[in-house]
Symmetry: none
Subunit: 296 residues, 5 copies
């Protein structure tokens, strides 16, 4: 097991530390781990993502799930944050997602445009902001430019910055795809090099080797892969994404491996809310049971 870096080791000032302390030690399992509930699917995929369970389209229903489930934070876009968070202000940490896009069209050079600012996040009482960076996209120049402003503002306001570090684009597709160990490893490192406080990545799939650079063309276990990814992120705390709806046992196994590797926690959306309320709470309880075994 690799030890997660403590909040005293990662070069952050009082404001970022205060907010991360709140997220990691005053909510959820309260042991330095975290499970976040992301809920931007209405923008990123459209209401089709809520088809399975009608309640999942209701923001109020989801915030209540975050409260009842004892999440460490809920990550939403500016619209839902404005309309729904005030009612539960302070009860669950708010992660304001600052950029986002629809999934139509799907241009070859994806970029997630800003739709809110760090200052608004401060005004809303958020404890972190989120930014989607498309690693490998031909739009990197514009992406880095808007990211730079976000990172500087986050530093100025002592606001923790979570980077959704997503491999995307034809160059990625030609190198094992967005979930390949190579792509995830590079994405984790990129977020760290660019100064993210936390990074959200997909769980790496080392079997996806078609077209990946030489060092990634070898047989390794998922555990070895996630170990390497956490090392690549170094002092950027790592959150594992849930991705598309998968089987519960697969989720629990992925969680165990991630925590064993030194990840800080999870950011699970569809896997959590695309089911009945009770079933969601049951799964969350199981996930938190695992997190409880990895205090720091």
């Amino acid at each position: 097991m690799i030890t997660r870096p403590s909040l005293d080791q990662i070069g952050i000032g009082a404001g970022k530390k205060t907010r991360l302390y709140r997220i990691l030690y005053q909510h959820g399992v309260r042991n330095g781990t975290a499970i976040f509930l992301p809920y931007d699917h209405g923008l990123e995929h459209g209401p089709r993502d809520f088809a399975g369970d009608p309640g999942s389209g209701e923001p109020k229903h989801i915030i209540k799930l975050a409260l009842e489930g004892g999440f460490n934070g809920i990550a939403i876009q500016i619209g839902l944050a404005s309309k729904f968070y005030w009612e539960y202000a302070g009860e669950v940490p708010l992660v304001l997602k600052l950029n986002g896009k629809t999934d139509i069209p799907a241009p070859p050079d994806p970029l997630s445009p800003l739709n809110a600012s760090v200052e608004e996040a401060v005004r809303l009482g958020a404890d972190a902001v989120g930014y989607t960076l498309y690693v490998g996209s031909p739009a990197q120049e514009r992406d880095f430019a808007q990211y730079l402003r976000v990172r500087e503002d986050a530093a100025r306001f002592g606001m923790p910055l979570i980077v959704w570090s997503y491999p995307r684009g034809a160059a990625i597709d030609a190198r094992g795809g967005r979930d390949s160990f190579y792509a995830v490893d590079y994405a984790a490192r990129t977020a760290s090099e660019l100064g993210a406080d936390l990074v959200k990545v997909n769980f790496p799939q080392p079997a996806k080797q078609s077209g990946v650079p030489e060092p990634y063309r070898r047989e390794i276990s998922p555990q070895e892969a996630i170990d390497a990814v956490v090392r690549s992120a170094n002092r950027t705390l790592l959150l594992v994404s849930g991705g598309e709806h998968a089987g519960d046992e697969a989720m629990l196994e992925k969680t165990r491996e991630s925590m064993e590797a030194g990840a800080t926690g999870l950011i699970f959306g569809r896997n959590v809310f695309q089911r009945s309320h009770d079933d969601s709470l049951r799964l969350v309880a199981q996930l938190k049971e695992i997190l409880a075994k990895y205090p720091s």
Copy 2:
């Protein structure tokens, strides 16, 4: 008993509500009341205030007292906030006091100059800012001007603003002095009219009637006086100041009357820390016992 206004009734947005919720419901007695520990005496009076108990001059000792005593917040100046808070970031809410002055000289037109900004408070992770307003000072024009900028910034950043509303100057001295019911009542109302979220006032002394306007020249009980002051503050939450070191029983009585009147809580400094550590904790426990009887 007058009911304290709830956080939904006082016209604040999500950010101020988040931060006040944290202070009022996630620390201290967690029932909507508050006891704050102010510690700016080193600037306002100099180290002479720490003469009785050497430990009281050590900021680290005081922050630990705030943690052990379970205070709702600690109010300090920028210097101590920068040097000491990072170590305890998030463990106790920080109230950054934005202005302050030494007690020498003592000019006839007192004004407390700014020495920090709301933006710095955000960067440090503070949950509120404090501003000393000298009601009745001939320097009111400059005072209101710098207060205006602070209030606007506090609104912009969703940062609760606590006004230390202190009657001062010759006009006040000629009207019963700074603790007269008249002066305290006016001070509470002034803070409310000027948009403070919380106001810190001295406990009113209705016997001080020399020179006060007509309506205040009558026999009323301390309870009736504090009732009126809380009404004057209306939707500005009221905190009662400890003032100079007084007897414990007097403090407890003052606390009971204030809470009965609908005050939100206390902001006690010298009465709390100018004694041994154990004795401080004992008194705080007694005060919190009273606060526990006034949930909202």
Copy 3:
């Protein structure tokens, strides 16, 4: 009878006209006249002004009075506007009073410092802003400087500007005092020359002639005096102040004369709210009966 200028004649753009139309034709008597309820006494005089009637200290009570009485607007400071107006937003027009001061001390060079901005008035949904100008004060230089910024902002945001044009200072005292025909006439003209959209003045007292310039040293009736004052204000709409609590008949007479002179209306505070709720409503009904006779 002098005809009041119509909204098409006073050189205002669409924004100011929209907001004034709302005030003058969609509230109150709806005939182009107005009766405003000012409520900044808690700041200007302190809670002593509410001594006679406890309810008068409750902002909520006063706003309800404005609604039940069918006022054309309520003029309050930023604090009460922030804490109370949201509940009644849009039900009665808001006049945000931008400056104010306590009545202690009482310096020889009075100035009313800003405590809010026109931009905040826009954000709160106000239909006008108020500014107190102390005509004759030795502080005129600073007064005009801050007034200039307010007027420019009001122009930029299409926000009607009501000037509380108050003669003050030793030079005024030496020339018949603040209510002399001379002083009021000069105050009305000053506001007009400086670009006020509306001006609030005291009712002129032509008998106060000690020390006034030659042309004002003559016997004229109150009606002639107020006629002249309205003419001096020309296309700046004129509101008559209630001043200290006076007899009802005097108030009604003053109202009749003002409207006859071409005033747009009244701005009555203490005379209206320093009495029982029912009595307040009765007086307001009488005043509106008079206003109804002066459509435009």
Copy 4:
């Protein structure tokens, strides 16, 4: 012996730490102590201070003294920094003194006006900036205002801020004077409360008790006094000023007591340079011998 706070304990970021590390561990005795050479006497007192030794008026001579003596830094005004430092750039750390004044006239409300900015200090390659704060001066309002801007800029640029914390004014004169234990203790604390990284104070003279507040009216040794002053400064590193030319033995004793108390070092001007070059170097060697005994 009180331990000096380490650079990891005082809440500073990488920039301030880098520059302080350079000063404290890469120059002078290189053990965390410091001896600075201040040379602003030409502005503060005029060339009369150089009368004893003609060479002392030559900036180049003084910089060479700083180099040969192995000082931790030289503190000069913008003019000498611009004209002389480039020649020795990087060889000895530069402390750019940002404010200063002539000693004529000597107004009752002394204030040291700014004559350079932190940005200029960055541009010149300085490792710290100096600011004179006149504690107790009636000009405190303007003093704090300009200090605030300096402190904020110093934070923004990661530039250590040394406050020359000097008690001044009639209120100080009436309370034991500028060297009284009371005044020095208050001055040290004020700098700490206002966020100075280092503070320069005079050595306290506990015998000066005329008019001082009660707790200071007692017999204590110089050692006890400087112990208390260092405690009052807490995490603000303390430098002891040389003051007017005194005897060598007195200087050495003062140095021993200061270092024993936990001071970080010395800032000696006239005592060092108002003598022959060789004699200066001899004294500096003796002082550094003492500093060498207090590593941290």
Copy 5:
């Protein structure tokens, strides 16, 4: 042998001189030469560059290597600088690399987008900033625009600017490629013409003549080539890049030739850290032995 320009000859002010003096005379061989350790491979190539030696992916390991090896500076991106440098602040000079990009995709018009500012470099205590300029890229217009802002800021803050001057693009490929004498020579001169203080170039390969302009189509030795490149850079100090991992003897030879030509030093990454720690230190010792022979 061509003499390197001294710091007094290159038209820089006190700040740049102070910082360069520190780099060139207070670290490394301390004779005016330099060997830098660049470590931005995690962003530029991804973690695959660390595959050979797991430790090489750990930023802490690399900083320790820089300290033990006695490097003149370490060049890293903002993320690693924020998270790791504070721990070693001041112990080794920091070169903050201001731009960077991933190696996927590889567009025909490469540009390295900014991800940090010179002001941040100042705040972190950096002694230089680095900027990658892609000479020959079709994106030159945007490249020069962002470079201009960096150079201006560097001038304003007295911060030395190192340009990574890299020939890139189809036009370069058609003229001998990025390492041709022609391309390197042009790159060195471009950086000098655009105001770089130092320039990092690849070692020129005069044999690559396919498509190069006429004057470069001749037989010259590597020594003559590097001599010419240093002359082209004139008063811009020249650093030779290590490039991809090569044989040790080739590196030493390249170093000898460069120093002989008047280069200021080396900036070697993969050749230094893609091996065991001890082996790295051994190679560095050999390189510094060569540098020691070229004092200035």
